[in-house]
Amino acid sequence: MIKVENIHKSFGGTEILKGISTNFEKGKTNLIIGQSGSGKTVFLKCLLGLHRPEEGQIIYNDKKYADLDEDQRTDLRQEMGMVFQGSALFDSMTVQENVLFPLKMFSKFPKNEMNDRVDEVLKRVNLVDAHHKLPSEISGGMQKRVAIARAIVNRPKYLFCDEPNSGLDPKTAIIIDQLIQEITQEFDITTVINTHDMNSVMEIGQKIVFLKNGYKEWEGTNKEIFKTDNEAVTSFVYSSDLFKKVREIYIKEV
């Protein structure tokens, strides 16, 4: 579980995050949504420890990030997996080497055990024939799967995803969403996803945090988002006719 208490973050005198508090629960897919410029990426980078908030606390299973020394922070980061928007695969390494990287860096497993583990996670993300291919030789969807495999190979406690289905076709996007949700439940990890994709919100949003201008405007589940009368949320989520229609049908049925 990740507990966020009143975090503030500024860049060059401009306050981007203005006191956000929330909880991200274990075994659930937690989504951060909001318009561009609402502070989602900065918030995610604060959760990852890439930005340090000027005020407030981020607590990872009772470990207060601000109170940890550099070595403890390094240890904590090894408990995190991250899927970047552009996958961020090391382009000079093959798919297998990319997934092997965190293991080679931090584990003391024998070589064959590491390779077995890589095979296992690549199989889990349905990539069995791409071991020796370079990232530039595989599709965007496959790159995302490799990024997920790399993020989970060290059995993290926390999984962070920055727009994991951006640039993917709708079918692949759904497959990636489902894969992330299955992995979250299977490994019982705390997953936080930064997304713009309303399909993801409807499908896997077990907890949704809506940000607006650096504030937490609303939070709830994908069921509650249909019923909310918060104007900022409805104007963002139901900006397309399709989702307006989906909402109408849902409300009628319920």
Partner: protein, 245 residues
């Protein structure tokens, strides 16, 4: 103000480069890869340029010595001194700033743009140590490149002088051997070690701290080349004053 800020950030970066050292088994592979990319990959251009520069130095010296009282072996002597003291260590380093420096800046810069550096940081890897330290260690082999440049420069001079008929082979070799001071080679290699450190770290600095996209990667490479060259020229002056002055 930006210059002072950058100098400060550069030294903070150096401190970070030498802290939280990457696991040896990984580091070993990275160092070998960097030796291949930075040292072995540069040998071709260095051999080519040194050979012809040596040739040109020898021809120009020979053409400018038309006084019959000046011995012909002076062509070999001047070529040796020019190549060992300046052309091999300094001129080669400026070429390396263009070749190796822009490669370092653009490769690290691309990793920054594509969030690969963030990925390293998130995993708990000290990205500066992982990316820059192996380059520094690999470039500590740079004196070998300089030694090859010295050899090829002098060989180029000998070939140019003998084939062009400016002097005899015996005269040239006599000039190479006359008044030889081994400290000049020590001086050249000392300079080369300092230049190697500059070559590894300044381009890394511009790549690591760049912001933006593909266009900025190109701009950062150019800026890195300019400042690496400036740093080499200044270091060359200071080291010459300290070691030979």
């Amino acid at each position: 103000m930006t210059y002072i800020e950058n100098i400060g950030r550069y030294f903070i970066m150096l401190k970070e480069v030498f802290s939280r050292i990457t696991k040896w088994s990984m580091l070993k592979q990275l160092i070998l890869k960097e030796i291949d990319d930075l040292i072995y990959g540069s040998l071709g251009i260095i051999i080519f340029i040194s050979f012809f520069i040596g040739g040109v130095v020898a021809i120009q010296t020979a053409l400018n010595i038309d006084n019959p009282l000046i011995p012909k072996y002076l062509v070999g002597f001047t070529t040796r001194q020019s190549v060992i003291l300046e052309f091999a260590p300094t001129f080669t380093s400026i070429i390396m700033a263009g070749k190796v420096g822009s490669y370092i800046t653009s490769s690290i810069g691309t990793m920054r743009v594509t969030e690969q550096i963030d990925a390293l940081e998130v995993m708990g890897v000290n990205s500066l140590n992982y990316l820059v330290f192996p380059k520094i260690i690999a470039l500590m082999l740079y004196p070998f490149v300089t030694a090859i440049a010295m050899y090829m420069g002098i060989l180029g001079g000998w070939v140019a002088v003998v084939l062009g008929g400016y002097s005899t082979s015996a005269e040239f070799i006599k000039g190479l051997q006359i008044d030889f001071d081994t400290f000049h080679v020590v001086y050249a290699f000392t300079k080369t070690i300092v230049f190697a450190f500059i070559l590894a770290t300044i381009p890394s600095f511009y790549g690591y701290y760049m912001k933006g996209g593909a266009l900025e990667v190109g701009k950062a490479s150019t800026t890195a080349f300019v400042w690496t060259s400036v740093a080499i020229i200044i270091a060359n002056y200071l080291l010459t004053q300290m070691l030979l002055g």
